[in-house]
């Protein structure tokens, strides 16, 4: 973009709430399954079926509001949004319109070292639509999978506070992370449990009025968000520079052609005929629910990282890696929880963080918000403690870790059973050293005449003799003294 214009970007994110059942129907909320296996009269909009609110979904939506600093409304209204489409079984979507559950709020982002606060307009609760399937089964027919219909969503509407695709991406990453740590959404862009639309406009730098915006859809990866917004900013600029006018319309990102394509313009915009759903009384959030949500809300990633850095002395980098997934952060915390006290915890934090990153992370697998670890926090803490106390060498620790992966058990037991404990006793080491020196008089002489590189040879010999169990530091000291002739 030339310096004459600036971009104005607002994002609308749809995030599925992690409930067992749907928002208004007792059917299970599982959309990745055999099509049309999680449906019921309410999901299908059968004649006579009525919606009944799933309280678990409301609690999660309130937690999202609290996590994002929103003003949670004590009373909000479900409204019907009407349009005809085969993926919308009732001919209307139950959503919220002029009185949403959460008002305001913000997400803090950091781009190129610069911090910025993106404010939110609102977060409302609504039901997901079904999924139209084309090109499966009989080729001439389209099919509808209603498993997704009625799954609870929150729509998070930001204010147009972002000025670049980088900021938009940072906002999305931050938002996703907060929702995942709050336990309300699994952040899966590929499967569509976290979806994004972008409103993009440009205006001359310094102008206070907003330009005509376009709405971008089909941008369900961080990469697409960046590319689609950048493309759209450039496209709008060229329209304006060549004397044209941006048309208010919905455009879709086409990844194959690397461009946005017009879907429908404002002239064809729906009149959604919103009105309060007469089947649902106003949604009342009482003090008890609010308190439960507050208590249930875990520590959020930003606070977690700050604490790790100030209390445990972790680096920005380490704190970032270990908070990449709520399951990983929880594992790190549970590992440290095995320390005897606060001081021991602080001492262990860095070694545990290192061990997690260098060894454990390879074997971690994630599924939504849950994470599978190859070892238990207790075993990891024991292993790191053995190394910290000098009872086990870092080298042999790898062997113990491999044994843990293969057969489980406790590191202490493995060390004892396989005789892997480190030799730190100087007397014991000295006996071995003297044996080696006696057997290699020529090399001892050469060393003493200045071939200091031979020290490595002696260390190697001792390690070989002790099956690698010699404490390297103690061995170094004993060896230095012996070679210097003190006890030789």
């Amino acid at each position: 973009m030339s310096s004459a214009f600036e971009a104005v970007i607002g994002l609308e994110v749809h995030a599925q709430l992690l409930t067992t059942t749907k928002l208004f129907c007792p059917a299970e909320a599982r959309f990745t399954d055999v099509p049309n296996t999680h449906i019921g009269p309410v999901t299908l909009g059968l004649p006579g079926a009525l919606p009944a609110v799933n309280e678990a979904a409301i609690r999660l939506a309130v937690m999202a509001g609290l996590a994002l600093g929103c003003d949670v409304q004590r009373e909000s209204i479900f409204a019907r949004k009407h349009y005809f489409y085969p993926d919308l079984p009732k001919g209307y979507q139950i959503s919220q319109f002029d009185r949403p559950l959460n008002v305001g709020g913000y997400v803090d982002i950091e781009v190129a070292g610069k911090r910025k606060r993106v404010t939110l307009e609102r977060i409302h609760v609504e039901e997901d639509a079904a999924k139209n399937l084309h090109g499966v089964g009989s080729a001439s027919l389209s099919h509808i999978d209603f498993n997704r219909a009625g799954i609870p969503l929150i729509e998070i509407v930001s204010n147009p506070d972002m000025a670049s695709s980088e900021e938009a991406e940072a906002y999305l990453r931050s938002l996703r992370e907060i929702l995942m740590f709050a336990g309300v959404n699994d952040g899966n862009l590929e499967e569509g449990s976290f979806r994004c639309d972008a409103n993009v406009s440009i205006r001359p730098v310094g102008s206070k009025t907003l330009g005509t915006r376009t709405e971008l859809k089909n941008i369900n990866s961080f990469r697409f968000v960046r590319k689609a917004i950048d493309y759209e900013i450039a496209r709008q600029e060229s329209v304006i520079v060549s004397g044209g006018q941006v048309v208010q319309e919905t455009r879709s990102w086409n990844e194959n052609e690397q461009k946005t394509v017009a879907m429908r313009s404002k002239e064809f915009a729906h009149d959604y005929r919103y009105f309060p759903d007469p089947d649902l009384p106003p949604l009342v959030i009482d003090e008890t629910l609010l308190e439960h949500a507050r208590v249930a809300l875990p520590e959020l990633p930003e606070a977690l990282r700050t604490r790790w850095k100030s209390v445990y002395g972790l680096s920005d980098y380490d704190a970032g890696v270990l908070s990449a997934h709520p399951g990983l952060a929880r594992f790190f915390e549970s590992t440290l929880a095995h320390a005897a006290d606060e001081a021991a915890r602080a001492d262990a934090a860095k070694p545990v963080a290192n061990y997690l990153q260098s060894e454990v992370l390879r074997e971690v697998s994630y599924d939504g918000l849950s994470a599978q670890f190859p070892v238990t926090p207790k075993a990891l803490f024991e292993l790191v403690s053995l190394v910290m106390s000098g009872e086990l060498s870092s080298k042999l620790a790898k062997q113990v870790y491999a044994e843990l992966l293969a057969r489980g058990g406790s590191p202490k037991a493995i060390v004892a059973a396989q005789g892997l404990s480190q030799i730190s006793d100087r007397g014991e080491l000295l006996a071995v050293v003297q044996d080696i020196l006696t057997a290699n008089p020529d090399k001892v002489a050469a060393y003493r005449q200045g071939k200091l590189g031979l020290k490595g040879f002696f260390v190697g010999q001792v390690m070989q003799r002790t099956a690698g169990r010699a404490n390297p530091q103690a061995l170094g000291e004993v060896l230095d003294a012996a070679l210097a002739g003190d006890s030789a």
Binding site: P41, L44, G45, L46, P47, G48, A49, L50, P51, A52, V53, R80, H82, F84, P86, P89, K90, G91, Y92, I144, D271, Y272, R273, Y274, F275, D277, P278, D279, L280, P281
Partner: protein, 517 residues
């Protein structure tokens, strides 16, 4: 054939006979089925019934412990109440042949009390109408005069009970659709407090107004039915949690003198017969120790306007789901939009389309505040009118309708039809309980026609209304007048009428139910 001898016993009578073992549920159902086969062609009250399913239910009751409050009592469902495995067409071509995969809450309740859930009562399409002439299938004839309408939209339910085909029937009342046909047919007809009976499984017309209510010959039978139907249901978010009283017990125990509000000041041209019928009702109630005061509901004059905006708006939304995609009739067009247009254009009748268009307009962006929002505000004012009125009285008495039943085809102008709802609409808009009980059988153009008195009470005072209705029913000796129903076979021959919906025999029933566009 002597009509009186073929009429159903009272619900209480059937239940007592079955519970005591004097009669089997199967014999009750056999007798009911034979009445339907011989008489439904005359009245057109039912769209269909399933003989085998009814007999199977009866057999189960006969085998069971016989403890249900409606043990062995046949209960007819309006065709907009979902019964598992049975057709539910809402009197519309669009839903012809659709079978519900689930039971409505009221159906569950009836089954739990040993009732025989039987048949589909004819109705105005999607419950829109006051004469039953909007049924996509055929009209219903008023048992008191076969040339007249039974009222609507629950015309089939009212006519079936009036004709003695069944002891109980369910209807749905949105703006008077239970009370008005109850008045036209001379039976007791109840619209409970909004939220008293779960709407789960009732095909929605206007969600903020719809209530299921029973039809019975007497207030005592209606009270028994409502006892079973009422109660909280978590699947209906507007369902009320208040415990359900024994309404029958309230009838027996209630002797307390009440203050009854005489509704005055409504702009309606009352027929003199209606005026004198209501005076008789007042006399009987006064003799029972109740006293009268005049009360006004200033906003009630706007009831018709409010109702036709609110109800049509909600209907336009509720009927969106009938798009031909998942169930019901689908008329495939050249495109998706064309398929919607063809399906809805051919599937819905004229009155339904009129209301969908009215409602769509009222909700349109730019008109919402002027119509829907304003109507809701006046609705709130009307509720306040009622609150003021009930600070002066315990119940309100009015006619149910300004006139007795009109002739089939007589009222062609929809607005005239709407204006006749003036007495039933206010209680619907305020969500209050109301019932219609016969108060006179007037000599009218050479025939005897029933007239209804409407009683409206504060929220959840159904028991009080039943007690007052029972006083009227006994004091005016309605039971013996109900027995003077014209012989349907003789009347059919005299009027030269053809059977409705062809001949009704068990053999044709399955075929009829499957009627398609």
């Amino acid at each position: 054939m002597n009509a009186a001898s073929t009429q159903a016993m009272s619900a209480v009578g059937v239940r007592d006979a079955v519970v005591s073992g004097r009669r089997s549920a199967q014999s009750v159902v056999e007798e009911t089925l034979s009445r339907l086969s011989s008489l439904n062609g005359i009245y057109g009250a039912l769209l269909g019934w399933d003989r085998e399913v009814a007999l199977a239910q009866a057999a189960a009751v006969d085998r069971g412990p016989k403890t249900g409050r409606l043990c062995g009592v046949p209960v007819l469902m309006k065709d907009n109440i979902c019964v598992r495995g049975q057709e539910v067409s809402c009197g519309s071509r669009l839903l012809a042949g659709w079978r519900s995969p689930y039971d409505a809450h009221v159906v569950e309740r009836l089954r739990a009390e040993g009732a025989i859930v039987l048949g589909r009562a004819n109705m105005d399409e999607f419950a829109m109408g006051s004469s039953n002439e909007n049924s996509a299938y055929h009209v219903v004839r008023n048992p008191w005069d076969l040339t007249r309408v039974p009222g609507g939209s629950s015309g089939g339910s009212a006519a079936a009970v009036a004709a003695g085909l069944v002891p109980l029937a369910l209807g749905s009342d949105t703006g008077g659709s239970v009370r008005q046909p109850g008045a036209f047919c001379g039976v007791t007809a109840v619209k409970p407090t909004y939220g008293r009976v779960s709407r789960y499984g009732l095909v929605a017309f206007a969600s903020s107004l719809d209530q299921i209510g029973p039809f019975a010959a007497s207030p005592a039978d209606a009270a028994l039915a409502l006892e079973v139907l009422a109660g909280h249901d978590g699947r209906d978010a507007t369902s009320r949690r208040a415990p359900v009283p024994r309404y029958g017990g309230e009838i027996a125990s209630s002797q307390q003198p009440l203050t009854i509000g005489r509704l005055v000041g409504l702009p309606a041209a009352l027929d003199p017969a209606v005026v004198s019928g209501l005076q008789e009702a007042e006399r009987v109630l006064a003799e029972a120790g109740h006293r009268f005061v005049d009360i006004q509901l200033p906003c009630a004059e706007h009831a018709v306007a409010i109702y036709y905006i609110v109800a049509s708006a909600e209907a336009s939304s509720n009927l969106s789901r009938f798009d031909g995609v998942r169930y019901g009739v689908c008329v495939e067009g050249e495109s998706l939009v064309d398929t919607y247009a063809q399906t809805r254009g051919q599937g819905f009748g004229a009155e339904v389309k009129r209301r969908i268009m009215l409602g769509t307009f009222a909700l349109a962006s730019g008109y919402y505040d002027a119509y829907y929002a304003k109507a809701q505000k006046v609705r709130t004012l009307l509720c306040q009118d009622f609150a003021r009125a009930f600070s002066q009285c315990d119940a309100i008495l009015s006619p149910t309708t300004p006139t007795p039943a009109f002739r089939l085809g007589e009222v062609a102008d929809p607005l005239s039809m709407y204006l006749a709802d003036i007495f039933t609409l206010p209680a619907s808009l305020a969500g209050l309980p109301a019932l219609s009980v016969p108060c006179a059988f007037a000599d009218w153009e050479g025939v005897k026609l029933p007239l209804g008195a409407q009683l409206i009470g504060p929220s959840l005072t159904e028991g009080r209304l039943f007690a007052l209705a029972d006083t009227l029913y006994r004091g005016l000796d309605i039971a013996s007048q109900q027995l003077q129903l014209p012989d349907p076979v003789e009347a059919t021959a005299r009027l030269g009428l053809k059977p409705l919906g062809g001949e009704w025999s068990d053999a044709r029933i399955a075929e009829k139910g499957g009627a398609h566009v």
